[in-house]
Symmetry: C2
């Protein structure tokens, strides 16, 4: 791999561009925010700027779409006529079903592998991007039904180059699992922040535990609106189960039912033993 195009220079796309450039790979970049593009050029994260029509990306080996989940299918459509000899098209979104289907519908399923690096945090934008973000990070790879062995091998190699650890998983199974391991924690952090806000509590009143529990609430609303809507059914189910757990505790508290309250906290500790 000698060259790559990164569409979207936020936390993930920006960090990828930095890693690739640092390894001597030629990087073309695009972002709808011109200040980010200028900063990426200045910082040496990208070597050439792409225009909005993405003309000229046919010269690269790998195209990475690093835009919010809902925008990815549009970017695929814009890129489609210019994909020439590109060997791999991938993305970095937190949901994998929709984008994979879009790639197949556009007839590029053979060269498409969905990617989801578990490497974000609550910051965003080029200024938050950095070297080392993918170091030992898990990255889920979701081939389409048509993905070629060559494209999948290239996707694996691509992520290993930037330090990540690829793991292949079916897109539907990915979205089901991530509803629990990632989207539910995010939604609960925001729900807790809103409950506190309505109760007149300011963030600075929290101790270390409360601050940890509401840190994710600071994440990008645009990004999470897309993810939550794209995975609405699975996330709705997970939220429902979380509410049930809260209700059980609430019922036990109202009845001063010590045994049930004890079971609640003990079961939580068994699942996540301190130092475990």
């Amino acid at each position: 791999m000698k060259s790559a195009a990164v569409i979207g220079l936020g936390l993930i796309g920006g960090s990828l561009a930095r890693e690739l450039s640092a390894r001597g790979i030629r990087v073309l970049g695009y972002d709808r925010d011109e200040a980010s593009v200028r900063a990426a050029l200045r910082d040496g994260g990208i070597h050439r700027v792409l225009n909005r029509g993405l003309e000229g990306i046919d010269t690269v080996d790998v195209v990475v779409i690093a835009v919010p989940v809902a925008a990815a299918p549009d970017v695929l459509r814009i890129a489609r006529p210019h994909l020439g000899g590109v060997r791999l098209i991938t993305d970095v979104g937190s949901t994998k079903g929709t984008v994979g289907s879009a790639a197949q519908a556009l007839g590029i399923g053979e060269r498409f592998v969905g990617s989801h690096p578990l490497a974000g945090d609550h910051c965003s934008g080029w200024n938050a991007s950095r070297l080392g973000l993918f170091d030992r990070a898990r990255v889920f790879l979701c081939p389409t039904a048509d993905t070629s062995e060559g494209a999948l091998a290239l996707a694996r190699a691509f992520w290993q180059v930037v330090g990540a650890q690829p793991e292949i998983i079916d897109a539907t199974e990915h979205d089901r699992r991530l509803a629990w391991t990632s989207h539910l924690p995010q939604a609960v952090s925001t729900a807790l922040a809103l409950a506190l806000a309505r109760a007149g509590i300011a963030h600075r009143e929290l101790g270390p535990g409360g601050r940890d529990m509401t840190r994710l609430a600071g994440s990008s609303p645009e990004m999470w609106t897309d993810i939550a809507l794209d995975n609405a059914s699975e996330l709705g189910n997970a939220l429902d189960r979380l509410e049930q757990q809260c209700q059980q505790l609430r019922t036990a508290l109202a009845a001063q039912d010590r045994a049930s309250v004890q079971r609640f906290f003990a079961a939580g500790q068994r699942w996540n033993p301190p130092g475990g």
Copy 2:
């Protein structure tokens, strides 16, 4: 202040004993766990061991009760006949209404000030105790209706000696606020852990965000059962409001109502802006 007695040598009591000893204050200690007592003697955290009847504590200036919230009134009752010339009796529990009432009922309200240092974490026991735990930590001080000015001044000085920053607050108001800032985050962390456990998700499958959100679930079930039951009404109310926030998101997701989902995440970010 030349001497103190610390009843309960867990994370908070043990750390207090270490701080006091390190400042040349003579510390008498008791814990129902004999191994903790031996370790505290060995590590120089305490100088003399008290027996279960707490005889001999009348020789100290300050008595600190650092046992789970539900056990504190019993310890006050056991200590009551031996309080002689003790100038201040305090505790370190996360709820303040019940323990203050117990002190008044025992006729020691004048010398009692409830304390709540915001300095715990999800670890517990003597082995988790350490110097520096109270460094710049907020500590709420809740006088009873009968607390003397001298006792309150001594409580303030006592916590400043170990590095904490005292703040006086009414016990009822304390318990109401802590239901939101501390007890709700703990309950939600455990509820999330249980929802994940029931969905067959293992803790190691989480990313950094999910790990933060379930860290508190590893806290001591004994301690939190007591706190939750002691503050059941306020915590129940807070849980109810959290559930309502989850339901609102769930309803918006089911309707693919982008504007509402966006408002949900945007309001959370406004309350806790990244870097804010």
